[in-house]
Symmetry: C3
Subunit: 101 residues, 3 copies
C-alpha cells in the first residue's frame, strides 16, 4: 500500500480523473460553492483562510493506493492530486510511505 | 487492518449504518443536494457525469477497518458501502488488502 | 503509520489546526450549513439523528498519520480531532493501531 499524507491544515489530497483537465476545475468550483469564502468565519479575523481549513477537513489530508508488482493500482481514470486551498505557496510537503501487505 | 480501495473516479466507499435502510437513502439525497447535477460543469459537455466525479472526491475512494482476532472491528452500527454515483454499471472493482499491525 | 478508527456511525475523525480554537468552531458551523438538521430525512422518524450520520460519511471515520523515530509526523498546524455529531455521549471509542512501514 502506498500511503500519502499532507502535513498541512489548508491543503488536502484526493484521487480523481486527470484525462479531462476540466474535472479538476469543476471540483474546485463545486468545493468553493460548498464552502463559501469569508462566510462570517471567526478564524478569518486572524488569518483570513478559514474556508481553506474547512475544505481540508472535507477532502482529507491522507489517502492510500494499493500496490501490486511494484505498481500503483490506480484505476484507469484515476490520478493523485494535491489540493491547495490557500495558495499559491512556495513550499508544500507531501509524505509518502510504502506499507507491506 | 483491512484496506479497501475503489479504483474508479465516479464511485467511492463509505462506512455508515446499515440497520435502517433509510440512512443510505438520506445520505444519497443529502449528497445530491450538496453536489447538484449539471450545475454548469465543464466536464458535462464531454461525459455528463461531473457531479459523480465531485462526489467521489468528497466521500473518498479508500477506507480501512481494524482487524482483531481475524474479525473486522466495525462498530455495532457500522457497515461498508460502495457508493455508485454514475450507475448502474455492469462492473465495478473493489480492491481489498490485509495489512499487518 | 498510526491508523485511527472511530467505530461509530454518528461520529468521525479529522485532522486540522488546534492553535486557534475558532477553527473548530468554524468547521462545525460550516458542516451544519452543508448538512442542515432535520431536512426531511427519513431516518429522523426513527432516531432523529440523520444529519449526524450524513456528516460521519462526509468527514470519514478513519485517518492515518506517518510516524518517524517514534513521533507522529503531524504538520506544525495539525492536530487530531474526534468529531462528535450526535452528543454529548458518555462513551465514544477510538481504535488506534501502529502499522509498520
Amino acid at each position: 500500500m502506498c500511503f500519502i499524507y499532507v502535513p498541512h491544515a489548508t491543503a488536502a489530497v484526493t484521487i480523481n480523473e486527470n484525462a479531462d483537465p476540466n474535472i479538476t476545475k469543476d471540483i474546485i468550483k463545486a468545493i468553493n460553492k460548498i464552502v463559501p469564502e469569508h462566510d462570517n468565519y471567526l478564524h478569518d479575523s486572524i488569518d483570513n483562510n478559514a474556508a481553506a481549513h474547512i475544505k481540508s477537513t472535507l477532502i482529507g489530508v491522507s489517502t492510500a493506493i494499493p500496490i501490486s508488482s511494484g505498481h500503483l493500482q490506480l484505476g484507469t481514470w484515476q490520478d493523485i492530486f494535491l489540493c491547495e486551498f490557500d495558495g499559491p505557496r512556495s513550499h508544500r510537503k507531501v509524505i509518502v510511505e510504502i506499507i507491506k501487505k
